[in-house]
């Protein structure tokens, strides 16, 4: 009973927002696509009114902004109605991007945690590494990604690992920053307690610092996985790569196929939402086991 009403409370506002967005989108599609209809009509020498324009803007072959149902149909066509091994399947491209994302995410998270552990335990690292971590993220990744890909290619790293390294480059940052804060979360008394037991640094880490940092870790992971996906897509842009959401978007823009761009965009958004959701589930499971989810 409580659960059901809780669900309603959560779903209702989300549904309202979604409907509002779709409505705005339709209006925008009509507005943006109308000019092409008018130009066509002018060229043919006929007068057309809104009554003709509105339905026509819903089904253009090459709209400026496709209508939501066009994108939905395109996504359906390229997922459910294609074999997933086909190059025209969105699932095929999605997996290419997703695998690079996940590999990069794992690499980035590992790097971020290692850096945070070093920073928290070593004063020299604290002073020297943190500024570099911050400046690493001021680099415009879109400009640097092709260079990184080329450099990596020349040392024999290409494809999946190269793309993943861009993901890792972006995703280590929130993890490092969050974990430094998390590993420093224990207060003086909690640390003193360990000292009264003459605990080793190793024990202090595993029994105090690590569990204290978990809420921070999960918050960072959600950010990290989302930008890992962005990193993988950026990594697919310069290579002329064989597949992935990035390559698909690039193709779409070469050939003026706006629908392809939009469906790739939505595919990416859905992947991000699923990954963030999965981390949320893991977070709830861990925090419940440790009594921190109430």
């Amino acid at each position: 009973m409580y659960r059901a009403s809780g669900l309603m409370r959560n779903i209702l506002p989300v549904a309202v927002i979604c409907l509002a967005i779709v409505a705005v989108w339709y209006v925008a599609a009509v507005g943006l696509n109308a000019r092409w209809e008018r130009d066509q009509a002018a060229r043919a020498g006929v007068e057309i009114g809104w009554a003709d324009i509105v339905p026509a803007t819903m089904s253009q072959k090459r709209p400026v902004l496709p209508a939501p149902h066009q994108v939905a149909v395109e996504i359906w066509e390229t997922t459910a109605n294609k074999r997933i091994t086909s190059r025209r399947s969105l699932v095929y491209h999605g997996w290419i991007t997703l695998s690079a994302t996940l590999l990069g995410f794992v690499m980035g998270v590992a790097l971020g945690i290692l850096l945070a552990v070093g920073i928290v335990h070593n004063r020299a690292m604290d002073l020297s590494v943190m500024p570099w971590i911050i400046s690493s993220q001021t680099v415009p990744i879109l400009a640097v990604a092709p260079m990184i890909i080329v450099v990596l290619y020349n040392v024999g790293i290409s494809g999946l690992v190269a793309k993943a390294s861009i993901s890792a480059y972006l995703s280590f940052f929130p993890v490092a920053v969050g974990m430094v804060k998390g590993l420093r979360a224990p207060d003086g008394m909690q640390l003193d307690l360990m000292r009264t037991y003459s605990a080793s640094a190793w024990q202090v880490f595993w029994k105090l610092r690590w569990p204290s940092s978990l809420p921070y870790l999960f918050a960072s992971l959600k950010v990290a996985v989302a930008i890992a996906l962005v990193g993988a897509i950026i990594g697919e842009l310069p290579t002329g790569s064989q597949g992935g959401f990035g390559a698909r978007m690039l193709n779409g823009s070469y050939y003026g196929q706006v629908l392809i761009i939009w469906s790739a965009l939505f595919g990416a958004a859905i992947c991000a939402a699923l990954m963030v959701g999965a981390i949320g589930v893991a977070q709830r499971a861990v925090l419940r086991r440790t009594g921190q989810a109430r």
Partner: protein
């Protein structure tokens, strides 16, 4: 220094260097606590009670004088796990159940698994929390949390118990109850207890000896042996001896303030 006392300090000095200049937290402290004693430290806040306890526990380094704990330096005593420390706040780790909080020192000190279970059960029974082991700290009242933190300090074999105003934040009824339990525990285990408080009745009720301290600089101004018997029902607090003792402590505290603007 002989190794006879549980805690032996002489001419102990501690000056904190702060941004606003040096703070003389302990000045010329002489103290000898015999094994099995229950010694209370009482004084207004800022008189160095916590600091003294932290020096005994090797959490703070004195800037002068000498101190031994069980005949060793505080550092060696800490490495030998000679004492259990109960902080002013319970300080339970929120991600551990009560049981696992009490088990924490046993894990750190490497007690075998079977013995851990045994000891956790015994320590929780000792503070009447036998049925609450599976709960998380936030599910317990403040008084129960503080009892759990005492159980945590009792779980391993240290014959010295350092307690820093453990009941300071609790209401009087809970406090009376915990005082009784603590007294029974002291009688049963024979541990040496150093107990910081700013409550006169609490100090008089619990202690075999009361150390009265005064601030700026933090120092000992009186040491009072308690003539009360070991057996102390709560009613003893209305007896003449008790009230006399309380008066003496109060006067000691007041004389420490003589000539000061407080």
């Amino acid at each position: 220094m002989t190794g006879a006392g549980a805690v032996v300090a002489s001419s102990l000095d501690l000056v904190f260097q702060t941004r606003d200049g040096p703070v003389h937290a302990l000045s010329d402290v002489d103290l000898e606590v015999a094994p099995g004693e229950f010694v209370s430290f009482i004084g207004p806040s800022g008189c160095g009670k916590t600091t003294l306890l932290r020096v005994i526990a090797d959490l703070e380094q004195p800037t002068g004088g000498t101190i031994t704990v069980n005949g060793m330096t505080p550092g060696q005593a800490r490495l030998n796990r000679a004492y259990g420390y109960v902080f002013q706040a319970a300080g339970l780790y929120p991600w551990r159940t009560i049981e696992k909080n009490v088990r924490l020192p046993l894990e750190v000190m490497g007690y075998p698994a079977q013995e851990r279970i045994e000891r956790v059960r015994r320590a929780l029974d000792l503070v009447d929390l036998g049925d609450f082991g599976r709960m998380f700290p936030w599910q317990l009242s403040g008084g129960m949390q503080q009892r759990a933190s005492i159980a945590r300090a009792l779980a391993f074999d240290a014959d010295l118990l350092l307690m820093d105003e453990p009941f300071g934040a609790l209401d009087e009824i809970v406090r009376d109850h915990l005082n009784e339990q603590l007294l029974a525990l002291h009688a049963r285990t024979g541990k040496t207890v150093c107990f910081v408080t700013h409550s006169i009745p609490e100090a008089v009720y619990l202690s075999t000896r009361i150390v009265v301290m005064s601030p700026r600089p933090g120092r000992i101004i009186d040491v009072i042996e308690s003539p009360l018997p070991a057996e102390r029902p709560l009613g003893i607090r209305e007896s003449a001896t008790f009230l006399e003792l309380a008066t003496r402590v109060r006067e000691g505290l007041r004389s420490g303030h003589a000539g000061r603007d407080e």
